[in-house]
């Protein structure tokens, strides 16, 4: 099994499965916090996806996207926290 095949037949599918699990949690909730966590994890997994995909296609420039994701993902969590607290204070 070459690395390419390994990535193609193992890594990507498992990551895909992971995302499905996360999405299920996103849908189930029950609280908005759970959805926010799920959202955060989707992005994190997305970074993994991009890493694997960059190797798979031999395109290092895709890692730049991963970099952006890593940097910014966190902000939406911050915003949601901000929101939930504000709403609770109301």
């Amino acid at each position: 099994m070459t690395l390419h095949e390994f990535l193609y037949y193992f890594v990507m599918p498992v990551l895909s499965l992971s995302v499905i699990f996360i999405v299920i949690r996103f849908l189930k909730g029950p609280s908005i916090v759970d959805r926010v966590i799920a959202l955060d994890l989707i992005i994190t997994t997305g970074i993994g996806f991009i890493g694997a995909y960059a190797i798979l296609n031999n395109k290092p420039s895709l890692l730049d996207v991963a970099m952006i994701l890593a940097l910014i993902a966190f902000l939406s969590t911050v915003a949601f926290s901000y929101y939930i607290q504000k709403r609770n204070n109301k």
Partner: protein, 137 residues
């Protein structure tokens, strides 16, 4: 928000993110990135700072009103666009290039000034929007 952890983290994240945004801006001509994304990241850096430390602190740090960056950025882009007309009677936005290859930037040309204009505008816009809305929240 009243959390020391976020506040402290943001102190260190701010310079890193700003640095990163400039990095993204400068390399745009060669790799993914450019003025937009760069500007967005810079704004996000400040927004994060504002979330963590409060808007007043952030504004104090920036000193000027972020809205001021918009005309500055527009003017920069505009000037790099009309420079060819004024200087060489060439069409609007014709690329002007410094003949030598420069380190970091690669070729230096009017396109970079243009992209920097874009960067400034994006920062100005995003911050104006988010600061305004936070203030009136």
């Amino acid at each position: 928000m009243k959390t020391i952890i976020l506040r402290t983290a943001s102190t260190y994240l701010l310079p890193v993110l700003l640095l990163f945004s400039i990095f993204i801006l400068l390399r745009g001509h060669y790799s993914p990135g450019g003025g937009f994304v760069g500007g967005l990241i810079a704004s996000i850096a400040w927004v994060l700072h504002a979330f963590a430390k409060g808007l007043e602190n952030t504004k104090g740090l920036i000193r000027i009103h972020p809205g001021f960056l918009m005309p500055v950025g527009l003017a920069l882009a505009f000037l790099s666009g009309i420079a060819p007309i004024v200087a060489f009677d060439m069409p609007f936005m014709t690329g002007l290039w410094y003949p030598e290859h420069l380190p970091i930037l690669g070729s230096l040309g009017s396109a970079l000034f243009f992209d920097t204009g874009v960067y400034l505008v994006v920062v100005g816009v995003t911050l104006t929007i988010i600061f305004t809305i936070t203030e009136s929240a």
